[in-house]
Amino acid sequence: MPETEIEGLLRRLAPQALGAVVRRYGHFDTAEDATQEALLAAATRWPEDGIPANPRAWLITVASRRLTDLLRSEQARQRRENAVVQRMLPEEWLAPAADRATADSDDTLILLCMCCHPSLSAASQIALTLRAVGGLTTAEVARAFLVPEATMTRRITRAKQAIKASGIPFRMPSAPEWTERLAAVLHVLYLIFNEGYASTSGPELHRAELATEAIRLARMLHGFLPDDAEVAGLLALMLLTDARRAARTGPDGDLVPMAEQDRRLWNADQVAEGVALITEALPRGPTGPYQLQAAIAAVHDEAPNADATDWPQIVALFELLMGMSDNPVVALNHAVAVAMAQGPERGLELLGGLQADERIAQDHRLHGVRAHLLEMAGDREGARASYLEAARGAVNPARRRYLHSRAARLG
C-alpha cells in the first residue's frame, strides 16, 4: 500500500484508537500523547512491515502500552516530588449516564465534543480538534496556522490541561447539553474551513489543506449523524464554497470576484454533491444558518453565468438568515444581494443604515461593498475613493492588490 494510503488510513483510525484508549483507561491528555506516538510508530513501520491484519487493534494495543509507560514515569516523578495529584470530581460524576446508549462510532463524536469544550478558546478548540480527531501532528497544525511549533505545542498542552481540570467524563453529553455541544463542534469545523479558504495571510498551499481537512471532518460527522439537517448544511456549504477554489485566484494569485470567475473551473462534482445534500436537508428542518448559507451558495453555483444569478432568491435567503442572528456581515451581504436584485441605489441605502453599526462601520469590507455599488451606480470618483479606503484596511495582500487594481481602473 502506498504511503499516502497508509496516511489516510491512520488519519481515519486516529480518533477511533484514541477514543478506545480513553474509554478504557481515562487520562485524555496522556492518552492523546500515547496515541500520537502509536500513529508515528505505525507510519514508520507499516510501509516496511506491511499493514497488520487488524490495524485498529494494533494502534490501540501500542497506544495502551505507551500510556502505561507514560503514566508510570509520570507517577514516579510525582512520588519523587511528593506531589501525588488529587482532583475533585465535579457534580457531573454523580449525574446519571446519558440516556442515549453509546456505540463504538460515538468515540469520535465524544472526542469532538471534548475538543470543542466551552472552557477552551476557539484557537485551542481548533488546534486540539485537528490533532486529536484529525490525527495531524503538532508540526502540521503549526504549519497550517503559520505559528512556530513550540507555540502550538504549548497551545495544545494548555488545552489538554484545561480539559483535564474541567473533570469532564468521557461520555456522550446528556440530552440537554447535546444541542449546544454539537453547535460548538460545527462552529469549530466552520472556523477551520474558513481559516483555509479565506486565508488572511501566508502561502496558499497549507491553507487549502485546512479546507480539505475541514471537509473530511464534516463528512465524517455527517456519516455519524446523517439525519441532522445542520450537519448536512455545513458539509454542503463547505463543498459548494470550496468548489470555486480553482477559479477564485488568477494566474498571479490575485483574487477574482465571483462575477468574473471562469465557471468552467468550478468543481462540478462538488457542486452536485453540495446541491444534493442541501436539497435533501432543507425540507427536513429545522432550518439553521448553515443550511441557509449553503442554499445561498447553491443558488450561485447553479447559475450558468453571473447574469443568470437568481438574486431575488438570494435576498430572500439572506432575510431568513438575518432573522436568525444579528450579524452585520450577513447584513452587508444582504445589501449586496438587494443591490443586484433591485439596483445599486437600494443597496447603498441599506449600507447607510449599517454605517451606524460600530461593529462594522470601520470594516474594510463595508468600504469595498460601497465602492462596488458606487461603481455600479456610475459614481466613478466616489467608487475610487472607497476602493482606496477599503485597501487601507484590508490585511490579505491579494485582497489589497485587487482593491488597488479596481481603483486604478477608475482613475
Partner: protein, 138 residues
C-alpha cells in the same frame, strides 16, 4: 468493558462494625442497618441498569489463609494480617461503557452512611479487568 470496584477494611474495622469497640467508634445497630439499606439500594440500581456482573463481601481478615511455597512445599499461614492492615473487604464487577462510567458508579459509594471517622478513612479503587491473555502480552 469490565471493571472491578474494590473496598478495603482492617480487622479492627470489621470488629467495630460488629459492635465491638476496638480503638475506634463502634457501629450502632442503626448505623449498620443504614449501611445495609444503602448497599441493597446501590446493588439493586446496578442490577436494574444491567451493569452489575457480580458483587461479594469478604469475611473478616482473621479468616484468611495465606498459601506460599517454602523449600518446595506448600505452607499455610492463618490470619496473616496485623489488626490495622487494610485488606480487600468487598468488590463489585461491573460491565459498562467506560472507565469514567465505572468511576462514576464507584463515586456513589462515597454516600454510604457510617460513623464519621470511618467515612473519613474509607476509600475504594477502580481497576480495569484484563479480558484475555492478549491484553497482557508484550
Amino acid at each position: 468493558m469490565k471493571y472491578m470496584i474494590l473496598t478495603y477494611a482492617s480487622q479492627q474495622d470489621y470488629d467495630a462494625m460488629a459492635g465491638r469497640p476496638s480503638g475506634d467508634t463502634a457501629w450502632s445497630p442503626q448505623d449498620f442497618a443504614a449501611m445495609g439499606a444503602f448497599m441493597e439500594a446501590f446493588n439493586r440500581e446496578l442490577n436494574e441498569s444491567g451493569e452489575l456482573v457480580e458483587t461479594r463481601a469478604l469475611a473478616p481478615p482473621v479468616h484468611t489463609r495465606r498459601l506460599q511455597t517454602r523449600a518446595g512445599a506448600p505452607v499455610v499461614t492463618d490470619g496473616p494480617f496485623a489488626e490495622t492492615t487494610e485488606v480487600l473487604a468487598g468488590y463489585w464487577i461491573v460491565e459498562c461503557e467506560s472507565f469514567d462510567r465505572a468511576t462514576a458508579i464507584a463515586v456513589r459509594l462515597s454516600a454510604c452512611p457510617g460513623p464519621s471517622e470511618v467515612v473519613a478513612r474509607a476509600f475504594a479503587d477502580v481497576r480495569p479487568i484484563i479480558e484475555s491473555r492478549d491484553d497482557l502480552e508484550p
